[in-house]
């Protein structure tokens, strides 16, 4: 029967990452993931992502740091070649790391601890101490405070601009249950506005977020207003 090997092939065509596995990779998974990365020219894709990291970090040391963290995220979060090309996956991870957008769950943290134990065995790196865990908890709390502050800044931007559509979007996003976040079409229906207003608002919102991110990095932000 043809479909059995086809399904088996699909199952091994992607690597789900140690976060979802909830444990370090087995030897077989490592071999499979290594072969998958090689097949998609990981060294070349990594150079493209490193160039992106350099433009974001504006320095070689910062770029290496970003790229190293993106590599680690790749192992933790996995990659599905059927969903996104490797080079774009790596660039997205670089962006996430540069903007501190990469979040993690407790399960993810446990998986990383397993990975760190592997490192300890080969590289002499210390697995996380209690002190380190306390530092991470502190970092988690800081991330919460930071996100809350950024969202408040965004609200202020929308209020100042009289951007009612984005204020409505923000309200819906904050109030919706995690598994019931409304689509733009649903928000449009709920607000009695045309959905095109929400598409235009998304562009303004993206610009506002990029401006906040640039400010955070101490950069001037200039972009043409096109809507």
């Amino acid at each position: 029967m043809f479909w059995i090997p086809a399904i088996a092939l699909l199952a091994i065509a992607a690597f789900v990452g140690t976060d979802r596995l909830g444990r370090p990779m087995t030897d077989e998974e490592k071999r499979h993931f290594g072969a998958l990365l090689r097949e998609h020219d990981y060294p070349g894709a990594r150079l493209v992502a490193l160039r992106f990291a350099y433009t974001l970090a504006r320095g070689r040391a910062g770029a290496h740091d970003l790229m190293g963290r993106a590599d680690l995220r790749l192992i933790r979060l996995g990659w599905d070649p059927g969903e996104i090309p490797l080079v774009k996956r790596l660039c997205r991870l670089v962006w996430s790391e540069a903007t501190h957008a990469a979040g993690e769950t407790d399960k993810a943290r446990r998986a990383e601890e397993g990975f760190l134990r592997e490192l300890e065995a080969t590289e002499g790196l210390s697995a996380q101490s209690i002190e380190q865990q306390a530092i991470e908890r502190h970092a988690h709390n800081e991330a919460h405070t930071h996100a809350t502050r950024q969202i408040e800044k965004l609200r202020e931007v929308f209020e100042k601009a009289g951007d009612e559509v984005n204020l409505f979007w923000l309200k819906c996003s904050l109030e919706a249950e995690a598994d019931k976040v409304p689509s733009l079409r649903q928000m449009a229906a709920g607000s009695g506005r045309d959905v095109t207003e929400f598409y235009a608002a998304a562009k303004r919102r993206n610009r506002a977020v990029r401006r906040l991110l640039a400010e955070e990095r101490g950069l001037n932000y200039e972009e043409e207003e096109d809507s």
Partner: protein, 69 residues
């Protein structure tokens, strides 16, 4: 079901805001990336060796993973 945390919402906002930039970056060719990185002082051979080391670690499997630089 609980509401999304501020971190989750901010993460979504940041990723959406970066999509265009990510798309542009990912469309750069490997040759162009190599050229620009070399101009910026990166050692391309060393960068490729770092990537190869990770692949070798994965492919040889019984060997525990080395942290990518």
């Amino acid at each position: 079901m609980p509401k999304r945390s501020p971190e989750e919402i901010w993460r979504q906002l940041v990723l959406e805001a970066g999509e265009d930039e990510i798309e542009r970056a990912a469309n750069v060719s490997v040759a162009q990336a190599e050229r620009e990185l070399a101009e910026a002082g990166f050692d391309i051979a060393a960068e490729r060796a770092t990537a190869e080391a990770l692949l070798r670690d994965l492919e040889s499997a019984a060997t525990p993973l080395r942290r990518p630089r």
